[in-house]
Amino acid sequence: MLMLEAKNIVKVYGELAGEGATTALGGVSFQLNKGDFIAIMGPSGSGKTTLLNILSGLDKPTSGEVIIDGNIISSLNGEQLALFRRKQLGFVFQDFNLLDSLTVKENIVVPMVLEKKSATEMEERVHELASLFDIEEILNKYPYQISGGQQQRTAVSRALVNHPSLIFADEPTGNLDSKSSTVIMECCEKIVQELSATVLLVTHDVFAASYCRKVIFIKDGLIHSSIDRKGSRKDFLNQIMDNLAILGGRTDVF
């Protein structure tokens, strides 16, 4: 089942025909099916984050369209987009994006609060996700009292709380150590396997990308190549590194 379709996405910053114009994306097209687990990789400045922002509706493309679950999101206005995002999409950010004044539990339920769900429903959902990601112990702590890995697991729980069909993750392991990264990527695997959601992550961390089923490489605003995972994670990791070497990006794994 088709989940997301990007049709010839172009993004130009600055005046269109002006001298200072920078083309961040030069016509990117790809498709994502339900249950996919895909990473977008590329060197710094290749347009990864721009692409993710456009796909998730945080930014508007200069031309081209994004269709998620049958909705053309570039045609939605600000308010509709906000509602669409919190109902259909989940977000995980590099800097976790948790509210300091809220406890872990409260942070997780914020999207449900906005949806005006009942308290019992919230409680149930929080405990479900907390046990899945092993953060039950810290539910009443504040973000500054817990580790980065725990913060990111909180953010992952928050992203999933409204049962979204599609999860976007922007460098989810960017601020984490290797151990925490492993935990987070295992979480993503769980999301796909146990909750049958679709996950799209943007990363330049080879280790993180190796957990995915498919990696799309972009360079200079265009899709360069893509590889599918067939064998073990280790093999896939080596494959990704080979590809990056061709691309000219970072290849070191810690």
């Binding site: 109902k87 950010f93 994006n97 509210l99 300091d100 004044s101 914020v110 999207p111 906005l114």
Partner: protein, 629 residues
Amino acid sequence: MSFKQMIWKMAKAEYNKYLFYFLCNSFAVMFFFMFATVYFNESVVQVKQSESIQYVLTIPGVALVVFTIFFIHYAHHIFIKKRKSEFSLLMTLGMSNRDISKLLLLENAVIGLFSLIAGLLAGMIFSRLFFSLLMNQVGIEGVSFQIIGSMFLSATAAFLLVFLIVVGKSLFLILTRDPIESMKSEQIRETLTMKSPLFGGIGVAILIGSIIGLYFTYGNPVIGGDYLIFWAIATFLGLYISLLQFTSFIIELAKRSKQFYYQHILFWTNLDTKLKQLTSIFMLVTVMIMVTILYSTIILFSYMSAEKEAIAQNPFDIAFVEVDILDTSLLVQKENQLQEHISIPFYSYSQKDTYYDWTNTYTFISVDNFNKLTSRKLSLENGEFLSFINVDPEHADGYEKNILFPIESERRNFELKDTIFDKRINDVPNLGEMIIVNGNDYASLKERSDGEEATLHLVNVENWKESGPFVKKIEERLKTGADDQDVVQIASKIEDYERQRNSNGILFYVSTFLSVLFFFGSFILLYLHLFSSVEREKEKYSKLRLIGITALEMKRIMTKEIATIFFIPTTIGTTLALLYVVAMAKDIGGITKHPDILLYFFIVAGVYYVIQIGFYLFAKRKMLSEMIR
């Protein structure tokens, strides 16, 4: 790059922070100075010795000190919070404690000095401006504007004292705290360590107790005013404790009802995080609103009651005594013509006091004339007399009811029949008490003793407020015929009215000044609070926007928060002002006797609410546009 150059560069890049801090401090100095211009004004000082103005200045004095300490502390807190992470970074890069202290002291010394100068200048300009504005509008005599050394001295000393303490405190904190901790300080919540409903209960008890205490002591003519400062401090203390405890108590309570708590989770957690800061703001704004409304009510009451009092004390527009036969041409007027003219002849007799070295003057009037004056139908036998006392029966306490006939040689011929209390004539000198006898006795008294006959004229005109020149004219005429020692016996509404206004003048000036000062103070405080947190709020909402909050929802939450900080203090402040008005009204006989005070209170409170709503809408718009930008 040298140390100094680096500091200068950093300061230039972020001049906004410094400007904000500078403005806050200047404002505090200005506030101190403007209060000092009133407090040390010589005409006020003179009145202060004798009259109630001392007490009037008590509550605002206490409130002002609390306000300014907090204000400087708050401004400094915001400033240091912004600088702290920068300092910590510099410290981790190897800057020594000595350098940091040098930097901090240098910055604060420069800002403090400039604030002092700017504040004093602004204070001088504004108090002068305000003074002339008030003088022109209200026309108060007896107060003159002045600026003397003690005003500068006290404002400077007060500011420097608070400023040094505050700077010293943060210097201590920065030097003793772990730099890493300081870097994280933005995130850490201020939690309340002593949270208990019991404390809250004690706070409320102190608050209620202070108002009850004020109610029962303020009426006491001897010591009532002296206790005011005590009760005011108790009220403020009780208010602070109960506000602090009850906000946390209400949050706890809200947490118990999960559905309710989650529905407004952003509101509650925001309240919880800023609890201490918010409580202080609530407390101060409440106090300022209370003081403003209380004093505005007092002003309005004394201003309005000048007229009432004049009417109550003077049943006739003009009353005067003419010893010779009246020149009737005196009373002919082209404008503001006479409406009513009653002439009552009376006989006055003076005799030396038996014990003291002074002369008592007694006034005798025939019963027929008394009936004419008071619309009564009394009759007296020979040898009977009535004692008439020209006061309202309500105030009859303290008057001798069983007097003997005043002329000693006639004492055995006369017997007291009754004592009449009635307010029938103006307070003309020597006519406060009269002896009423029948026509025969009146005639024979006149023959037997060597007093003199005179006529009391009671006059009403078309418009008493315009009768000033007329009264002057009569007074001049009466003076021409009299000796220097003789009292000119005249009493009029207009003169009474003007006298009242003038004696209230200084009180009026001081109270209006304070009300306006506190009015702006509370606004600035609310505004400061709102916009000091704007960066944090922006960050919070940008995070929320990423997870899909709509602009409308954001506006709704913001509106709720702004409304809370605007209207909770207004409501509490108004309530406290009402209670204080009721308690302080005991001084003039209680609220039941002067229900119009309540009317004035509601007018003042109503006006305040309207302005507050206007300001709330303004601040809300400004804040929302700031957030959306």
